[in-house]
Structures are given as C-alpha cells and as structure tokens.
C-alpha cells in the first residue's frame, strides 16, 4: 500500500515538473523562433531609434546546394528602445526573435556619436547575445550597410559573417571587434572601446595622399577605391571615448593599432624606396616578438616607450633588384624602420591628442607606477592620456625576397 502511494506521488511529481518546465521549452521551440543574423541601429526622426533586423530565410539553400540570390530578410522598426523594437518585431513577424545567432550589431555613425551605453548594456543584459558578436560603426546608415552585406563567396549570410574579420590577422586593415570586448573596455579604467569601421564602397571617393603607395593604405570605409558586387566594406577603426564615437582610424592606423596590441600575424606594407622617393617597395613584415610597452609618469605626464620588432621579406621585384646585397637590405630595413616609426607615432599621438582615447590599453602598463588602486583612480588615466609622450622604436630586419633575390 505504502509503495503504491510512493509510486503515485512520483508520477504526480513528474507530471508537475514536466508541465512547469514545458513553458520554457515551448518558447525555445524552433517553430516559434525567428533567428536574427544581424541587427542595425540608426537614429530616427519619429522615435528614439530605428532598429533593423536581418533574418535568414529557412529555405535559402536548396537541396542541390545552390542558394537563393537574396538569402536574407530585412525588416525595420522605429521604437523607443532596443527591447521595445524587439517586442514590436515579435508582434510583426508572429515569432519570438532570438539573438542567439546574431553575428553582427551595426550602429550608424550618427547614432554612435550620441553615445551607445544604454544599447550596449541592454544587449549585454540579454543572455542570448554572444560576447563574440561583432560590433560595427557604419559610415552610411546601419540599415543600408546590412542591406548591402550580401555574401558573394558563401551560400549563407551567417557563413559570411562568421569569417567576417578573418583578414585582420594578415592585412591589418580591419579589426575583430566584439561586443564583449566593447562592454569590457567601456567599463575599464585602463582602456577605451573600439569597433569595426564599416561603410559602402563607391567609385567617387579617393584619398588625398600625394604618394601613390600611401593612397593604398590611407583609406577607410566609404572612402576606399574598391568596387565590386559586395558593396559593404570594413576598413579602419571606429574610436570611442567611453560610449561615444570620437573618431576614425584609417587602414594604416588600424595596422599600427593591431601591431601595438599584438593582434596581427603578418602584413604587407609599402615603404618609400631608398633610391627613389617616388617609388615604393612592398615588404611583408611579420612580428618577431610581442611589442614591448613600458610606461611611467615623468613630471606628472605619462611617458610611454614602445619597441616593435619585425622580420620581413620583399615582395616587389624588378629586373635591377639586388636583394642579396647586404648593404641594400640594411638600407631597406632602415627606411622601413623610420617609416613605421613615423606611422606608429602618428597613430599613438592621434589617439592621445586628438581622441584622448586609450584604445590600445596602455593604461594597464602604467598601473605599476602606482602604489594602490586608489592612487591610480585619483590620477584619472582616462583624462590624463592626452598628456602622454611616446617614444617609438622599430627594429625590422628585412632579409630578402621570396623566390627571387
């Protein structure tokens, strides 16, 4: 009799538990969910913000492997907040929006200039948003950036976004900026946040550099000379001070940023030829060691010493090249050193004097100059970064060409 009661009790308990957990699983059911692949946030004339959601079409890849030309759906809504926009879109599409597969969050330049703290905190509060979601500041409207992001080599938009920033490790022209890191840096006393600089390519834009080789690297999104069927582009970096967009970096400055943060495997750079200033030599440089950063306080101002070490091989060749000659290679190395020193110095001073934003995170290297955390807080690094002085030293060892000498 007793065991019978126990059995009945267990069955009732199991039914109760099944029913109570059912509501959570029902809401997570794939038939009730619309997966957002990317999200764009723009300013709105009628409300606080305009949010655009990009969804995948479930049938975008056919059975034989070919894909539809337009594999995504883009819907917009104007609302007072992100949460409200999601709610309105839930009602519109008749499904619950899931951000668990959202690969990209785009803010328009105009919106980011007014501060994005509330939006970032709201997104990080949502447990569906992955910290690895890329964050982009678009030079054009965020909506048009998403609309123009159409994969040309991948069948699915999600695949395209997955390999979105892969080129940063071997070109240095873009950065793998994620919302997790952005949130961390926004709440950090020793660093500032940054985002990928995005835009749409157009044929009319050109760099104002006089030297042709510099034109290649002094570009950024919306100002590049690239044209093609993939109209969206990611070149350069969006610099923030706290939560507000304060400036942009070009491709070469982004390269300097990645070199200083040790986030690059190798890169191609055009340096002026030692013999002819109008000509340039293309060198593929690989960091040999991590950048050494030493920071101290001298007369109340931060003094930062940076040492970069590279090895390189010459890409550009001509019939009269003689890259077996040690003197020529030393000359090329020296030119390379002075060129990179000027580029890196210009980048660092730009972040300090123009933006007053320590995106590199030099602040953590100056922590050793303070006895206590309170001393560091009193010093107010985020305001004192603009008083920094930099001493950049580049040691590059250009060896030879690749197959040809």
């Amino acid at each position: 009799m007793k065991s019978k009661f126990i059995k009945i009790f267990i069955v009732i308990l199991l039914i109760i538990l099944t029913l109570s957990f059912n509501s959570s699983y029902q809401s997570l059911s794939i038939s009730n969910i619309a997966f957002v692949v990317s999200m764009a946030i723009d300013t709105s004339t009628t409300n606080n913000l305009k949010v655009t959601f990009q969804f995948t079409k479930p049938s975008s890849v056919s059975e034989n492997g070919s894909s539809d030309s337009d594999s995504s759906i883009v819907n917009s809504v104007e609302a007072s907040s992100i949460s409200s926009a999601i709610n309105l879109m839930n009602a519109y599409v008749g499904k619950e929006l899931s951000l668990s597969h959202c690969k990209l969050i785009v803010f328009s330049e105009e919106f980011a200039k007014n501060g994005i703290s509330d939006e970032i905190f709201t997104l990080m509060n949502d447990n569906q948003v992955r910290p690895s979601t890329n964050i982009v500041v678009s030079k054009c409207t965020a909506k048009s950036y998403i609309e123009n992001s159409k994969p040309i080599f991948e069948p699915l938009i999600t695949k395209y976004y997955e390999g979105y920033t892969n080129s940063s490790s071997y070109t240095g022209y873009t950065t793998d900026a994620t919302i997790g890191r952005f949130f961390n840096n926004m709440n950090c006393d020793t660093c500032e946040p940054f985002a990928i600089l995005g835009g749409i390519n157009s044929e009319s834009k050109a760099s104002d550099s006089t030297v042709p080789s510099e034109k290649d690297s002094n570009i950024k999104s919306n100002e590049s000379a690239i044209t093609g069927s993939l109209r969206s582009e990611n070149i350069g970096l969006a610099v923030f001070k706290d939560d507000t967009l304060v400036g942009e970096l070009t491709a070469i400055e982004n390269l300097a940023f990645l070199c200083t943060r040790n986030q690059i495997d190798g890169f191609l750079i055009s340096v002026p030829s030692p013999n002819d200033e109008n000509k340039s030599i293309d060198i593929y440089l690989t960091p040999q060691k991590n950048t050494k950063i030493k920071a101290s306080i001298v007369n109340g101002s931060p003094y930062i010493n940076l040492e970069y070490t590279f090895t390189g091989r010459i890409y550009s060749m001509s019939s009269d090249s003689d890259y077996l000659n040690n003197d020529i290679l030393t000359e090329v190395s020296d030119v390379c050193n002075s060129y990179l020193e000027s580029v890196f110095s210009a980048f660092l001073y730009k972040t300090a004097k123009e933006f007053n934003s320590d995106i590199v995170g030099i602040g953590k290297h100056i922590l050793s100059s303070f006895e206590t955390s309170s001393d560091f807080e009193e010093y107010d690094w985020s305001q004192n970064y603009k008083n920094s002085f930099f001493n950049v030293n580049v040691q590059s060892n250009v060896k030879s060409g690749f197959l040809l000498m």
């Binding site: 538990l17 957990f21 809401s27 997955e162 997790g180 995170g361 955390s373």
Partner: protein, 369 residues
C-alpha cells in the same frame, strides 16, 4: 556503523566540494570587489591563514580522538551546549545551502528557463537531494568523488580557454587598495574557506582519524589553488566586475570560450557540471544536518529525516522575494554567519574544551600524587 565511515581521499573530496560550491555563484566576484587587484595576494594570504586555522583545529581535536564538535560541546557544557551548538550548525548549513541554491537557481532561470517558476527549478534540486539523502552517506561520497574531478577540470579549462583574452597587467598594483586593505580588511575573505566547517563534524566519520591533519591541509590547499584559478580568470579577463554585477560571473567567463566555428557555446557544458556540483553540496549539507540532528536528539534511525532538511532548504531558498535580496543575503549574511559560526564559535568551543581537559588532567595528576 561501518557504512558511514569514509576514507581519507573521500574526506578530502568532501572538503573541496563544500568549499568550491560557493565559487560557482558570486563568491569570486565578491572577493574581487573587496580586494581589487590585490586579490591574488589576498587569496594566498587567506589560504595560509586557513591552513594555519586547520592546523590549529587539528591540534585542538588531538585531545578528543574521533569526537566531533558536538561531543566536545557535551563534554564542555553538557547536553544544553551540545544541543545549542547542534542547532546553530544546522541553521548555518540550512541557511547557507538555501541561499546558495536560490542564487544558482536564479541564474539558471535567466539562462535556460525564462518561463519556468523559480519554485520548480529549486524543487528539482530538492527532489535530487531527497533521493540522495535516502541513500547511504558512503554512496553519496562516492558519487561526489566522481563528480568533483570534472568540476576542478572545468575551472582549469575555463582558465586555459580564456588565456588569450588575459591581461596579466591587471594584477597591478599588486596590493590593490594597499597593505591595510589586503592584509587586515581582506582577512574577512577567509569566508571563502568556510567549508572548513565540515572539519568539526567529520572526525567520527573517518576510517582513519589519524589522517585528520592530512585531510584538512590537503583539502584546503587544493581548494586554494582552485580559488586562485577562479579569481585569476575574472581578474585577468574582465575589468567590469569591479563596477557591474553579474548573476553568475564564471558563466560569463565560460561564454567567452570559443575554438573556431565548431567548438562554440561550451558554457552549457560548464553549467551542467556546476549543477551537479551544487547537488553534491546540497547533499552534503543536508546529510550533515541529519547527522547533527540525530546526534542531538539521540534518534536511533536517520531515515525519517530524509525529507526534513531538504524541505527546510527549499523553504529558505524561497524566502527572498527578489534576486537583490538573495544576492544581499548571499554576500552579507553568509559572510557574517560563516565568520561567526565556523571561525569563531567552533574554535572557541574547541579551545575552551581543551583548557577544561588540561585543567582536569592537571587536577587528576595532583589528586594521584
């Protein structure tokens, strides 16, 4: 009863399991907030203090072979003191378990069960404890011995997996808010080792009571290493824990681990392992409560208590009205109750009992002469 006797290795696992359960919820972030960048030095310091404390306990227990704190209380102040200490320890175990369970369940609700009432999430853990409670203590310990290595490996993997995101410079200034804050105010962080509480109870349960010293010191040393890994992961990786509160800080760290596009979202594996660890912790505390209750009431059988203590834990877990209250209780009440019960009350009882014994021995000697 030979069934309840546990081996030296199992006893070590038991201590580690109790200590590390609290690190899964908010403890590492609370420690980090208290000591800032000086947390690593502070953890090493409190670990040394905890080891010293455990060694002193060993010395104090030496005069009372195979006796627990309740037998010793009985010797010191009679049945009244024994019952009082027993009730205090039961309250300590029930309250700390209830609050820990509530905080963990709140995290689970946010992450996986948004539409499920918190009551049912807590209830599923309570049912687990009821089942494990109906089994023998030894079988419980054996299961804990299987689960615990996974928990330790998970934290090690959490550290290794996040290594590329670390900024080791965040350890500076090495003393955080200064010497006083790290070594005087920071002494309070010894609550991280409040799992020492089980040292007061396990002596009669040990197969080899002579290994008490080894059990205490090894358990605390391994827990200290574990704690250093937890805190280091948060310290080197995030700067926002000093300003922003997270519901499960280690879960946040786990969500950053990704290996290419194939190994992603490993956080669910971590959460599964940590759920098992919470079950282990709740099993131990509820079992200890049953053992204490049986001891102070001189009950012959423990079986009727199978559901009593899990239900008490359930009630305590449901007490806080909001997450904010349960977090506050988890941070402040747990800190206060751990310091007063584990590090003051238990110690004072042992010390006084030793003085009484010394005095008695001296008197006895003089009487013989």
């Amino acid at each position: 009863m030979p069934d309840t006797k546990i081996s030296t290795k199992e006893a070590i696992m038991l201590i580690i399991s109790i200590i590390i359960a609290h690190t899964i919820v908010t403890l590492p972030a609370t420690l980090l907030k208290n000591s800032k960048s000086g947390i690593l030095v502070n953890i090493v310091y409190v670990s040394i203090l905890a080891l010293l404390f455990a060694f002193i306990l060993y010395r104090l227990f030496k005069n009372f072979q195979s006796q627990d704190i309740f037998d010793i209380s009985d010797y010191l102040g009679g049945p009244f003191l024994k019952n009082l200490i027993g009730i205090i320890f039961i309250i300590y175990f029930i309250s700390s378990s209830g609050i820990l369970l509530r905080n963990f369940a709140e995290g689970l609700k946010v992450i996986y069960f948004p539409n499920t009432n918190i009551l049912f999430i807590i209830l599923s853990f309570i049912i687990t404890i009821c089942i494990t409670n109906s089994l023998s203590f030894r079988s419980n310990i054996k299961v804990i011995s299987i689960i615990l290595p996974f928990v330790i490996v998970s934290i090690f993997f959490l550290f290794i997996g996040n290594l590329p995101s670390f900024s080791f410079e965040r350890v500076l200034p090495i003393l955080g808010e200064g010497f006083f804050n790290t070594f005087v105010v920071g002494t309070g962080n010894i609550i991280a080792f409040s799992g020492i509480s089980c040292l007061y109870i396990i002596p009669p349960l040990l197969k080899k009571p002579e290994d008490f010293k080894k059990i205490a010191l090894t358990g605390i040393a391994i827990s200290a290493l574990y704690l250093i890994l937890c805190v280091s992961t948060l310290l080197f990786m995030f700067s926002f824990f000093l300003k922003v509160d997270e519901i499960l800080p280690l879960y946040t760290a786990a969500s950053y681990i990704e290996y290419g596009s194939f190994f992603q979202r490993l956080d669910s594996i971590f959460l599964l392992i940590w759920m098992l660890e919470i079950c282990c912790y709740l099993t131990i505390t509820s079992k200890f409560s049953s053992i204490i209750f049986k001891k102070i009431t001189n009950l012959k059988y423990q079986k009727p208590l199978t559901f009593v203590f899990p239900l008490l834990i359930f009630s305590v877990a449901l007490l806080p009205k909001t997450v904010a209250i349960s977090k506050l209780l988890g941070n402040i009440l747990y800190r206060f109750i751990s310091l007063s019960v584990v590090f003051c009350l238990g110690f004072v009882i042992l010390l006084l009992a030793n003085i009484k014994k010394l005095h008695y021995n001296r008197k006895h000697k003089e009487g013989n002469q």
